[in-house]
């Protein structure tokens, strides 16, 4: 290796960062080359000189001054934000904000108005269609029958309306009476014994005359029910009977006594869902649920036959406290108020 090459590597060699093979070569060369030896020595001295330079101490005020400068720099940043609110600076952001705002408002208005328009338009169209189509059919029918008098048409419309209202009534009175017809018919088919039994047992339970009075309608209903099961009567008659029965049932509903049951449970919510499922399983109908701070009140309708079973099942849910429950007295559908208390 030439002196020049060695000299170039001396810097790294002085720091001890040359590869092993190079190190050996350099060391061999150094043994025989005073010039390179001399430059290595001077290089080391140079490094030492630099290294020996004493560190200067920072002035005592430096930290404070730096922090003061930083805090001064940070606070004006707030000022810059405030400056943004100057008209000149704000122009662009303000425009952007306003554009965004308008877009949002537009979407909002569009979203709120559109469904309403649909709601407003759709039913009206629908109604007219419905209103027209029967009349058209009527017209056609009428024309076919060659009855051109407007009076007849009016009569027909009235009839239609009447039927509609009937339907509505049916809907309003809804399931309870309808349900009643189906489950109550089998026992009646068994020779109407069930009905007679209750009637026969009724007088024996004289201590509760009020209940008896209230229970008076059901037997009549039963008699009504017998007729359709007998089967010989026209359907329309049945309908009217059902309707009348429904109204009667309504009346009786109002007078009907409410069975109060209090259930002591650990967890109100789970108990509630449990009770709800048992109610539906037993063919009962939940009228309303009210929740208070420490209790839930379930009001439901249930057939009297199922009441005992229900209470038995409630006992499995929690501790049951019965208030004014006289199981034998109740007949047909009755209202039950279940208080779920912790």
């Amino acid at each position: 290796m030439k002196c020049q090459d060695i000299q170039q590597k001396l810097s790294a060699y002085a720091e001890g960062i040359v590869p092993h093979e190079e190190k050996i070569l350099i060391e061999e060369h150094l043994k025989s080359c005073p010039k390179c030896n001399e430059s290595l020595a001077s290089l080391r001295k140079t490094i030492d000189y630099v290294h020996s330079l004493k560190d200067v101490e920072p002035p005592a005020w430096l930290t404070q001054k730096v922090m003061a400068k930083i805090k001064a720099e940070v606070q004006p940043k707030k000022g810059i934000i405030q400056k943004l609110f100057y008209p000149l600076h704000i122009k662009l952001p303000l425009e952007a904000v306003v554009t965004a705002l308008i877009a949002v408002i537009t979407i909002y208005i569009f979203k709120t108005i559109q469904p309403e328009m649909k709601l407003a338009q759709a039913p009206s169209e629908h109604e007219t269609v419905i209103a027209r189509s029967p009349s058209k059919v009527d017209d056609e029918a009428i024309s076919k029958e060659k009855i051109a008098s407007p009076l007849a048409r009016n009569d027909r419309k009235r009839l239609l309306l009447h039927e509609k209202s009937k339907d509505k009534e049916n809907l309003i009175s809804s399931s309870p009476p309808l349900e009643k017809t189906t489950p109550s018919s089998p026992p009646l088919e068994k020779g109407g014994k069930g009905g007679f039994d209750t009637e026969q047992t009724m007088p024996s339970k004289k201590p509760a005359p009020m209940d008896k009075l209230e229970e008076a309608p059901p037997p009549i209903q039963r008699q009504d029910k017998v007729r359709p099961s007998a089967g010989a009567v026209a359907k329309e008659e049945v309908k009217t009977e059902v309707l009348s029965r429904a109204t009667k049932a309504k009346v009786s509903d109002e007078k009907r006594e409410v069975v109060n049951v209090t259930v002591l449970v650990k967890d109100i919510k789970t108990a509630r869902t449990e009770i709800e499922t048992t109610l539906t399983q037993l063919g009962g109908k939940i009228i309303k649920t009210e929740s208070f701070e420490n209790k839930e009140v379930l009001t439901a309708e249930i057939t009297s036959q199922k009441l005992t079973e229900l209470i038995a099942r409630l006992k499995s849910v929690g501790e049951v406290e019965e208030k004014e429950v006289d199981l034998g007295i109740h007949e047909g559908t009755l209202e039950i108020m279940i208080e779920i208390v912790k």
Binding site: L43, K45, T46, Y49, V50, S52, L53, V56, P58, V66
Partner: protein, 202 residues
């Protein structure tokens, strides 16, 4: 190099994270901790204590402003020293321009061209010598460092004075490790020649 990067533990990381959240007071600890090293880097590069103090202040201020952008790829200290090196370099450039406008300057030769070592030293030699004769060794060494080109000053200050590793220097100056090595070699050569002249013998 990669191994070292992966292994490093930044002792400032926690305080830096506070600062990133906007805690100005947490930054004070970082200032106290690093101001001395920063001042020395700046001072050795510029050769003027007052200017160095100003540069340190500016470096800390710009570091705080940019602390949100500091990605923990390197040590916070390395990042901080990079700022002070850059600011010192800028200041030197400013001084050069200022001096070049003056009729005569000791730094003139350095201005002519960056790489021309022989020209630099040869032309700066007389004035440097005159100045150095009456001063002690420390000042002589400083004067010789001052006479170096910026890129040589940087490596010699960071390596031989502050003891940073080649990797750290390579990170700070954004130059490859090989360049650090060759620059350091040249810087030492120049410095040795200068010292030989000012001190007569080494």
């Amino acid at each position: 190099m990669k191994r070292e990067e992966q292994a490093f533990i930044d002792e400032d990381a926690e305080i830096v994270s506070f600062c990133k959240k906007g805690n100005v007071d947490a930054f004070e600890e970082l200032v106290r901790k690093h101001q001395k090293k920063m001042l020395n880097i700046a001072f050795r590069m510029i050769g003027n204590y007052e200017d160095a103090c100003e540069i340190v202040q500016d470096a800390f201020v710009s570091a705080y402003k940019a602390i949100r952008h500091f990605e923990e790829k390197a040590r916070f200290s390395t990042w901080l020293y990079t700022i002070v090196v850059n600011l010192s370099r800028n200041r030197l450039n400013q001084l050069k321009i200022k001096n070049s406008r003056e009729a005569f300057s000791m730094d003139d030769p350095i201005l002519t061209d960056s790489g021309e070592l022989a020209v630099e030293l040869a032309s700066s030699e007389p004035s440097v010598l005159e100045r150095l004769e009456k001063r002690n060794v420390q000042q002589k060494v400083q004067e010789c460092i001052n006479a170096l080109g910026n890129e040589f000053k940087e490596v010699i200050i960071l390596r031989d004075m502050q003891g940073f590793s080649y990797d750290e220097i390579s990170d700070m100056l954004k130059i490859p490790g090989g360049t650090v090595k060759s620059r350091l070699f040249r810087a030492r050569e120049m410095l040795r020649n200068c010292l030989k002249r000012v001190m007569g013998d080494l």
